[in-house]
Symmetry: C2
Subunit: 330 residues, 2 copies
Amino acid sequence: MQAQLIALDWGTTSLRAYKLAEGGQVLEQRSLASGIMQLPKAPRIIGGRECTDGFELAFEEACGDWLDAQPQLPVIACGMVGSAQGWCEAAYRDTPANVATLGTSLQTVRSLRGVDVHIVPGVIERSRLPNVMRGEETQVLGVLQNLPGEASADLLIGLPGSHSKWVEVADGCIVHFDTFMTGEVFAVLSEHSILGRTQQRGGSFEGDAFDRGVQVALSADGETGPLSTLFSARSLGLTGELSACAQADYLSGLLIGHELSALANVQRRRRNSVHLPSIILIGNTQLCARYRRALDACGFTRVTLAEQATERGLWQLALAAGLVSSTASR
Amino acid sequence: MQAQLIALDWGTTSLRAYKLAEGGQVLEQRSLASGIMQLPKAPRIIGGRECTDGFELAFEEACGDWLDAQPQLPVIACGMVGSAQGWCEAAYRDTPANVATLGTSLQTVRSLRGVDVHIVPGVIERSRLPNVMRGEETQVLGVLQNLPGEASADLLIGLPGSHSKWVEVADGCIVHFDTFMTGEVFAVLSEHSILGRTQQRGGSFEGDAFDRGVQVALSADGETGPLSTLFSARSLGLTGELSACAQADYLSGLLIGHELSALANVQRRRRNSVHLPSIILIGNTQLCARYRRALDACGFTRVTLAEQATERGLWQLALAAGLVSSTASR
């Protein structure tokens, strides 16, 4: 089957490359650590000249051989590659942002090998506390493509990660979203705070400890907020009530529990209803499993997982941009 | 004036030494970086033998010359020096803990030079989420000594720091306290997270940015909690609404605001009253000034600062232990 598109999901710490055939079918995929904050440095010859530009180097690494074989393949990319610190800035689109038409606003950068890379713009919500995303808008599109239109009214799309996003959609538009820095806070506390000193990591997932953390966040004790309950990851260790190998998952549950507890409160207020929306989760499988577990404890009873949202979204955007042709008529 | 006591406030990252005369008057004081997590390593001769023990080395550094001059001076110490990772563990006293009588439970360790160091026990509250303190109990005593007994009913003693403590007292006893890891969370986020990358630090205090952070925490936007509002320290920068040199103080205000907002809610619930207690703050002057500013914004209208709480508390404990004699009759 002939490749029709190279699709790149190029974030802060990773770069995933997909070679897609008609209908967006994945022929091959690769995962590299060449996110925009950790680009390769070793010079190489590109287009006959020595090159030291990190973006060019990462691009060659990710799909140079695919382009050698098929130089006319179009290339599309989403994520932090379009940020001010990226390869070429693709200005944010404002909410309400119609994700299906983002493909008509791609920003182009010409690579040294002469191939154009089409970069998807991020989305900004200019509220009192502004919110921004880059990459998630593409995943949201990938999910919406497979949903009946009316399903989105009672839906919240969750994208767990270093900075998790919770996205509300209406009529194919991103109308509102919240960001929680839960993943990054967990990482810096585990690596650099006193809480990490007594954590023994690397064992299997301690589900009971995780659930306990979630329950603490939801309990009356949780009303002091995460800045306070965090300390229990240490003090329960001091009193022998939490073993060293359970502390990391307890902390994970505690932070995710605080995130989802706050999210549930805000959702009830925004919807003026005690009922919570359906959830579709997109992201890393293990992380989504944690969120699913905690969502259930927080009263979100309808939770499903989306697969291949990124590659599907990128394919749709390439279609909208005319980089590939539709197979709908076949 | 003759010295009567050496008093040490020996924490995780610092060691403060006081030479006290009768009535607890401070004759001399020193501040060293030799907290229990960063003890000196260079060997020295102590008591005729080469010594490499970090606690002995720090002790010599802090007050060896004072003891050379007056070998019979008693020594008392509070703080993390009495923890399991300290010089000698002084078991916690349970709440309700009468702070005036902690002096009768000192733990003794004999130093190489033959001088006994008397270590003050910490306090533990064995609630569902246990809470512990070491050092703060001594400061609370130092404050209570100067207060009329009935004042403590409507009082909350605040000890801002890496792990701030909020202490409720009744009849001279610590009956309840909360811990917030606000200071440490601020430090690790500023040093190790994406928020630090755009912070330009080292300038003067940006009071407006700090106040803005406090207000965000108190606003409807703050209902998503600190894990979410944190991201605004970045997104307001991206939209040009918060300058690089204002971001650290904004983040500081945001975190302290979330701490105090949660504290106010919990206090109202515990006291079953809309009225908030009086506050006495103990600690670093600049940090207390930040807390005072934020407390005012959060509705705590009666706030005072305590001076010399540590040295006064240590003197009182030494009196209770019979290490020094009272001057009350003079």
